[in-house]
Amino acid sequence: MAEAYDRPLPVPQPESDFYWEKAKAHELWLRHCNGCGRTYFYPRDICPHCFSRETEWAQASGRGTLHAFGIVHRGPTPAFRDHVPYIVALVDLEEGARMPTTLVGVEPDPAHVRIGMALEVTFDDVTEAITLPRFRPAT
């Protein structure tokens, strides 16, 4: 068995169990509002834009573009210090929502990270229970 995973893990909540279950199945699902037509992140039952309760799960394409990033050289907690440098990112998904993530498959060097670059989701099974959606340059 691999070394114990030592970085923080999400604690799924009743309204996000589905999101994390789908991530485990290597699918990215978002919450879509039939009241205002917007898709949003993070998942919650009542739309944060128009407060409609007419919302539902919708599978995302997994494609998006880089909105903003940072290249972390000083790990924020001891567990991250063995993993620097790493690229934190905000990704604008095709469906209109923006989500936080990390980039993989990109040199952690500003010369290689371009805001606006096309990205696609990839899934990292960090433990048996939890899979984190990460993003890599689109193929």
Partner: protein, 380 residues
């Protein structure tokens, strides 16, 4: 011009006995020392206090520790801006007759706390940001700064961040209470190590142990006290997200609401302000806040701060204490902006005193550029 006044005034300000590296004090000790010193500065006693304000802790924790049982209580906790917001809340409570002497206290052992502050694992930030190592403000703010650079140009943004770091240090050199008092060159800035690109170490605030307190009272009571009242002329507050991933426009803070609102309430304009105290958790916080407040247009911040304009001797004095970047920053820094504004307005700022400060704008920023409180303070 008629003598300036308002329904409430700041009459006492102080830090804890020591600030900086203070390993021998708990956060609550720092609250208590600051409260003692600010009441002494005001010429009031603990028995006079009937309104209690703090952030981080609940006021029932600080109230118990201090032995204060208030008839007005406010633990509004929206990050480092909270204490600036408390000044506005205190003024409103006093105007409404809900209390007469409001005590705002702060204390954090940011360097030396023996127990870490634990956050609720059920919050969205813990669920969607922390697992990715998006933890702590340097990382959140660095992402916002990357967006600004992309939008308005990397080189001119970098120069602006350097200007702010260097100018702020010049003020700290003049402040005996500042932690960082060695002069800083542009090369020092550019050569400092990366924390989270695009932030160098010298884009980031220092981390200290410190407490501070502010006493606010009614106009009538203020006039009976030894020191000149510092009037609370305008106040506004706003927040629009908690986590950085939920911030709509990373190049515009809630100060775009609070700046104009506080100035309008005070009946003054940007040009009337003699001293700007702008929360500087990071160099970028200052750049984006000046634009958001309306001091200049979007993307014009780099021109606004060029050529050490905010340094001693410049025509836009700003963060004259040396700021969170070089004076002190225990985690939530907002109250220290108020302390310095009051000292400048009273003419108590010693070697760093700016000439003839009659009006000061104070803007606190909290969380991940999440919340702001803006107040306008003035003397006679």
């Amino acid at each position: 011009m008629a003598e300036r006044s308002a329904s409430a005034a700041i009459v006492g300000v102080a830090e804890s006995d020591e600030i900086g590296n203070v390993p021998g004090k708990s956060a609550l000790q720092l609250h208590a020392e600051a409260a003692f010193n600010a009441l002494e500065d005001a010429g009031l006693s603990k028995a006079d206090v009937d309104g209690l304000f703090t952030a981080g802790y609940s006021t029932y924790d600080t109230g118990e520790y201090l032995g204060i049982s208030p008839r007005y209580t406010d633990s509004t906790s929206v990050g480092g801006s909270s204490f600036v917001i408390h000044v506005g809340h205190a003024a409103a409570a006093i105007a409404a007759g809900r209390c007469e002497v409001a005590l705002i206290t702060h204390g954090q052992a940011g360097r030396s706390a023996r127990a870490p502050v634990v956050r609720d694992a059920g919050l969205p930030i813990a669920q969607y940001e922390s697992p990715y190592g998006i933890i702590g403000q340097p990382i959140a703010y660095s992402m916002a700064a990357s967006r600004y650079m992309h939008r308005y140009g990397e080189d001119r943004t970098r120069q602006a961040l350097a200007e702010i770091a260097v100018a702020t240090r010049k003020w700290a050199v003049l402040n005996p209470k500042a932690m960082m008092r060695e002069p800083l060159s542009f090369d020092d800035y550019h050569d400092s190590r990366w924390i989270s690109y695009p932030f160098h170490l010298l884009d980031c605030c220092i981390v200290t142990d410190a407490g501070a307190a502010v006493v606010v009272t009614s106009a009538e009571r203020a006039r009976s006290l030894p020191k000149e009242p510092v009037w609370v002329l305008g106040a506004a507050e706003h927040h629009d997200h908690a986590g950085i991933s939920q911030m709509g426009d990373l190049t515009l803070t809630p100060a775009h609401v609070t700046g104009p609102a506080a100035l309008a309430e005070a009946g003054v304009t940007h040009d009337d302000i003699d001293l700007a105290m702008i929360y500087d958790s990071f160099t970028y916080t200052v750049l984006v806040t000046l634009e958001s407040l309306g001091y200049c247009g979007p993307g014009e911040g780099p021109d606004f701060v060029a050529d050490q304009r905010t340094a001693p001797g410049g025509d836009f004095p700003m963060n004259t204490s040396g700021g969170g970047l070089s004076y002190t920053h225990p985690g939530m820094y907002g109250i220290f902006l108020v302390v310095e504004a009051v000292r400048q307005l009273r003419g108590e700022a010693g070697a760093r005193q700016v000439e003839d400060v009659r009006l000061s704008l104070v803007n606190g920023t909290g969380g991940s550029l999440s919340s702001t409180g803006t107040i306008v303070l003035g003397v006679g």
